[in-house]
């Protein structure tokens, strides 16, 4: 038998993912062996330690430009930057997930699949102490880390599944409104696996075209292959559908409002921040590294997708009466703005998109974090009318939320302004004026629903039924403080992070 050539593996470059997956496996063993009462502190401590340790491992890779593990993993500037972003946002999301003071036993249950309203399900709803969510979280974060580092399409697909499957499950874990939560999980799962099918079929067509699945090979084949170009374009289109679905871009966005509404709010924040980073990180790598030679062909199509996404997000946000759905449509519109940055197809486009992902991630995490605080007897009160007059009752809380909404609207001195400015400037430099015009118009439309919430909170009289704002625990307070501070700091002094993202904006091929 001939000798097998073992691939060279750079363990330092893989360390973040190895740490996260190792911690997740340890978390499962804790679930199995540690007594129920003691699981929560152990799991929370392990998860936080795992994410921090992975963060340290990512930081040590700064400046690395290498392809390892037989060409499956690329560690370069964007990988390190986006992995760091996912870990930082994931850490804040973990703080919200770990909060226990708002709801007896935390916002999660143990068994997602029990029939809602059945006897065992009603029992688990009142039983405190479900901690399954922490290993799931670690698996999801680990999968996202792999997703942005994947250097061939098969690794990317595996990573996509690794972070998607825990997310589907986490959506169904809400303690309140079980049926809505399960509906969200089922919709996300069905549509998500459908889009994974598209992604896989795209890989098959690309393989048919290039004979390779690694990005450098596809890049080389795009110069000239004796196969039909239909394979290339068809494959890229199907591949993009899979990625745009995760990024929640129109017309692949229909799952977003239902899933964001039904999922437990900390998980929604996690999805809105980290999944977006992962999806756009992968999209950037696919478009910039593998398919840059056909960018003239796909830019008009993705440009139309971007405009459609911005329009759908902005227009539908106006009609929403539920705050979680409103933020979901806002997240769709933001996917559109991000696509504008991506389509600049330049170093500036890459760096401004990465900056946008971080800035938006912190703001959206803090926004969903504040939603967890407004509660009545039935759990969170997310209907817009319930928030009337909250500004009179809890001025500090309402001021923080107003600030976040202004950041979403892109008011100067917030990170929302600097990040939008950065992506639009990159797109203008590259001559994509039509996208920028559409972006500015939809931003103005989108300001209306945000300002309506602000007006509701400050200018309406509080009603009898206005819910109370809970006192946040240490974890939620820390998370909110980090989110609001990041929104403010990135608005006032964006230069350090912009420099960092510019320095990082170079893919290795």
């Amino acid at each position: 038998m001939s000798d097998l050539q073992l691939p060279h593996i750079n363990y330092a470059a893989l360390a973040p993912m190895l740490i996260l997956f190792g911690a997740a496996c340890a978390g499962i063993l804790i679930e199995a062996f540690v007594p129920r009462e003691r699981r929560y502190p152990v799991q929370l401590g392990l998860s936080l330690a795992g994410v921090v340790a992975a963060g340290v491992a990512v930081i040590t890779q700064a400046g690395t430009r290498t392809i390892t593990a037989g060409g499956a993993i690329a560690v370069d500037g964007p990988t390190v930057f986006l992995q760091g972003a996912i870990l930082a946002l994931g850490l804040v999301a973990l703080l919200f997930v770990g909060e226990r003071s708002l709801e007896a036993g935390g916002p999660f249950v143990a068994q997602a699949a029990l029939i809602a309203g059945s006897e065992p399900d009603r029992r688990q709803v009142v039983r405190p102490g479900a901690t399954e969510v922490y290993p799931l979280m670690l698996f999801a974060i680990g999968g996202m880390e792999l997703f942005v580092a994947a250097n061939d399409l098969l690794t990317m697909f595996v990573a996509l599944e690794v972070f998607s499957l825990p997310l589907y499950l986490m959506c169904a874990l809400a303690r309140r409104r079980r049926l809505l939560s399960q509906e969200a999980a089922l919709k996300y799962f069905l549509l998500g696996s459908y889009s994974s099918g598209f992604f896989l079929f795209g890989i098959a067509l690309i393989y048919g075209f290039a004979g390779r699945v690694d990005f450098a090979g596809i890049h080389a084949a795009a110069l000239g292959s004796d196969r039909s170009n239909a394979l290339l374009y068809g494959g890229l289109a199907l591949l993009s559908i899979g990625l745009l679905f995760k990024a929640a871009a129109a017309p692949f966005h229909v799952w977003t409002p239902d899933v964001y509404q039904g999922a437990p709010t900390p998980v929604t924040g996690f999805m809105a921040a980290c999944t977006k980073v992962a999806a756009f990180g992968a999209l950037l790598r696919v478009l910039y590294v593998a398919f840059d030679r056909v960018s003239w062909d796909y830019r008009p199509v993705l440009g139309v997708v971007a405009i459609l996404t911005m329009l759908v997000g902005a227009v539908f946000a106006v009609t929403q009466t539920d705050l979680k759905r409103l933020l979901a449509y806002s997240s769709i519109a933001n996917a559109g703005y991000l696509l504008v940055g991506v389509l600049a197809m330049s170093k500036d486009g890459l760096s401004s998109s990465m900056f946008y992902l971080v800035a938006y991630g912190f703001t959206v995490l803090a926004a969903f974090g504040t939603l967890t605080l407004v509660r009545d007897a039935d759990g969170e009160a997310n209907h817009l009318s319930r928030w009337a007059g909250l500004g009179r009752r809890s001025p500090v809380f309402a001021a923080a939320f107003t600030f976040l909404l202004l950041a979403f609207a892109g008011i100067p001195l917030t990170s929302g302004f600097t990040s939008k400015f950065a992506v639009f400037a990159a797109a203008l430099d590259d001559g994509q004026t039509w996208l920028v015009v559409a972006g500015v118009i939809t931003s103005m439309v989108l300001a209306f629903p945000y300002l309506r919430v602000v007006v509701m909170m400050w200018l309406s009289e509080p009603a009898e039924s206005t819910p109370t704002v809970s006192i946040p625990g240490v974890l939620t307070s820390t998370g909110l403080a980090i989110g609001v501070a990041a929104t403010l700091v990135l608005g006032l002094v964006p230069a350090p992070l912009l420099d960092l993202s510019t320095k990082a904006a170079e893919f290795v091929r």
């Binding site: 038998m1 000798d3 097998l4 073992l6 496996c25 499962i28 679930e31 199995a32």
Partner: protein
């Protein structure tokens, strides 16, 4: 590209179709006819869909845990076979990797065991 490579496959198709046609046409004439209850049921299709009790009826879904466990070990075996065949070539690296893989599979297995996934009642 020459299509002649596909001729044997077409031949196989024709043979399979002929066999199916032949069996179905000939069986009623030459086969014995001994009816009983079991022959009227759907073949190997699980629970009888009709008649159902009022309210849709309930049936246990305990088998799904067994089925999921089966998938876990099924996939493990799929990896073990090629590894075993080329064990000599892969050497110590392959051995450690396989131990890690089996370890992670057993992590999931331990969770199922401790959480009562293996208890039938």
């Amino acid at each position: 590209m020459s299509l002649s490579a596909y001729v044997p496959i077409l031949g196989l198709f024709a043979l399979a179709a002929a066999f199916a046609l032949f069996s179905v046409t000939v069986a009623p004439f030459v086969g014995p006819r001994r009816y009983n209850r079991a022959k009227l049921e759907a073949y190997e299709c699980g629970i009888e869909p009709t008649p159902q009790p009022i309210g849709g009826g309930r049936f246990p879904v305990k088998f799904y845990l067994t089925a999921m466990l089966f998938i876990v070990f099924d996939i493990e075996i799929i990896f073990l076979y090629p590894w075993a065949v080329s064990f000599d070539a892969l050497g110590a690296f392959g051995f450690v990797e396989m131990l890690l893989f089996i370890g992670t599979v057993f992590v999931a297995y331990t969770y199922i065991w401790r959480r009562g996934g293996l208890d039938w009642d």
